[in-house]
Subunit: 381 residues, 2 copies
Amino acid sequence: MAVETDADSVVVDARRLEQFVVSVFTTLGLTEANARDAADVLVKSDIYGIESHGIPRLAGYVNRLKSGAMTINPEVVIVHELPSTAMVDGANGLGMIVGKRAMEVAIRKAQATGAGFVSVRNSSHFGIAGYYARMALEHDMIGFCMTNVGSGGNTPPTGGRTGFFGTNPIAVAAPTNTPPAFVMDFATTVVASGKLQIAQRRNHDVPLGWIINGDGVPSTNPAERHGGGYILPLGGLRETGGHKGYGLMLLVDILSGVLSGAAVGATASKLTPEGARAEQERSVGDASNTGHFFGALLVDGFRPVEEFKTEMDEMFRVIRSSERLPGWERIYVHGETEWEAERDRLANGIPLDLPTYQSLEGISADLGVPLNVKIVKNVKT
Amino acid sequence: MAVETDADSVVVDARRLEQFVVSVFTTLGLTEANARDAADVLVKSDIYGIESHGIPRLAGYVNRLKSGAMTINPEVVIVHELPSTAMVDGANGLGMIVGKRAMEVAIRKAQATGAGFVSVRNSSHFGIAGYYARMALEHDMIGFCMTNVGSGGNTPPTGGRTGFFGTNPIAVAAPTNTPPAFVMDFATTVVASGKLQIAQRRNHDVPLGWIINGDGVPSTNPAERHGGGYILPLGGLRETGGHKGYGLMLLVDILSGVLSGAAVGATASKLTPEGARAEQERSVGDASNTGHFFGALLVDGFRPVEEFKTEMDEMFRVIRSSERLPGWERIYVHGETEWEAERDRLANGIPLDLPTYQSLEGISADLGVPLNVKIVKNVKT
């Protein structure tokens, strides 16, 4: 659970941090309900220990809201629907607001028919995909979430040298009797961009299989990610199953993008010279038209949920207690590290690295929102 | 499209091969309709060039049907359902018969509500998962299929040294205007067992990342798969994202196994000494209780299907025409190699390796079903 930081960290209280984020968003004009929804997604990310997606990104969201690049309080509408499906337009709002509304639609439909699936267009970055999949758990449903958010073309198709795909995460959550629930949530690339950036800042090599250089040769030098290099899809090169990761990335683009009418491949336009030029000229006010995909399956639509949960517990008990390889202290099931981080951070606070804490000070000064979140003072500045 | 064989191959006619398989199954007591369903799944596998799952497995199916290990003509029933979901019991029938019925239920529900999802218990090996996902295409739906078929515990959880998971394949099919449709279909292990066996027979090394030996050390020697070694999940070791493949394997077991009440992990019982003993003592007549999961989403439940197909075509056009890495002749989209194999093999015949052809001769002699399938005589025996 150690936090990777480049400098000393500042430990902040989760509840006060959330209140700060709510105040920032209401100051920018969001309704109290929208502000609370968006703040909950962001702060939960830090509570779960997923630093790459929470508070460190607040300044980016604030800048886009201030610049007029996003609708402050989007009117999220169902464009078309059947009893178990819907296509939702996010009205170019904050992804966290759009995402919660759309997942609520999926859950409502699953309550009525057993299954609900919603594809979303015209949204934006929505934080961690796992948040929305988890929303299904309290309804005794299995939750699904994907998004084709871009990051400028991290990954080419297998055999290609032009970045087409974003990190295209997939998340699934399923209930258990004994916590934690099953929650898998990962990029369909080998590794998230953030980990590569950390390695580059520290001049560390990265494992073979993360990136290729501009000639398509695997490299351990994170700097080669740029200058024509790319992060590989899950599975790495073709010979170790990289075409399977490429397939998963396409699946995310199909369900989040093509099925909704959102932008596809994040950067499809960049693959032609005209597209690349148009992309560079895009004003900050342009909508990102990010796509999402949400799903919910009611367990009771298949078998009694108590039987399901009992067997989930038993499966995980057997896996956790099975024999370990040398050097492994434990065998984890997905969702376990986030659950342990949650207990620790709600009790002991959330460690933020210094640049992140300073970005909050900047937002505080800019918007006149008081920042009173520290619970341990160990900053050396 | 070159077929990997250890000996000379025999080229057979697809239609006559299918008729032979139908006759074999009807001779064993299957109804004509059941026999045609099962034969179509098997022969399509060979037509698509997926040799590991088609006719080479016919002898195994025949043996299990003859031994009484499976119900000859299963009464496949819906045990529980809601408008968009169902749990189906396969009555210990051939997986190909059970699978087609269950996918038909999913499609029927998707026609009514936009979405249909079906979890299946008490089935058996069903051939290629992609077959069932493809059934959605002619209905302008996106099709999904998974199965937790065992193979005796190929793969341990990340950090573990006891095989828990089968190859747990995932297949998804989505329609296009211009053929081929998108069809991804792959094991959630790095590689299928069959490819490992071929390398071992030929004394070839395998790429680093496919297997670990009994000490958890990556190995290029396929013989180390046995004696405590295992095939890794997609992504390989933890540092290259193997925990993501492990998550996908769990997902398949949750949706195919836990959600239906089928056997889970294929070998969960083997993880305890008592379970391992019980497993060895299982008589040939015992049901395998394999689980499957099927899904269908009606594209028109989200957006007009013609818009969807047009954008699918455009996305694939951009990907296929994007810049290639050195040494790559083409960039493939999933489903393309199978489509090319189909055109080739329907016109020119299906190459079967000699042991496979000989297994058909054995079945022919055993059951008294004439084998008249060869179109080229190049056998050296």
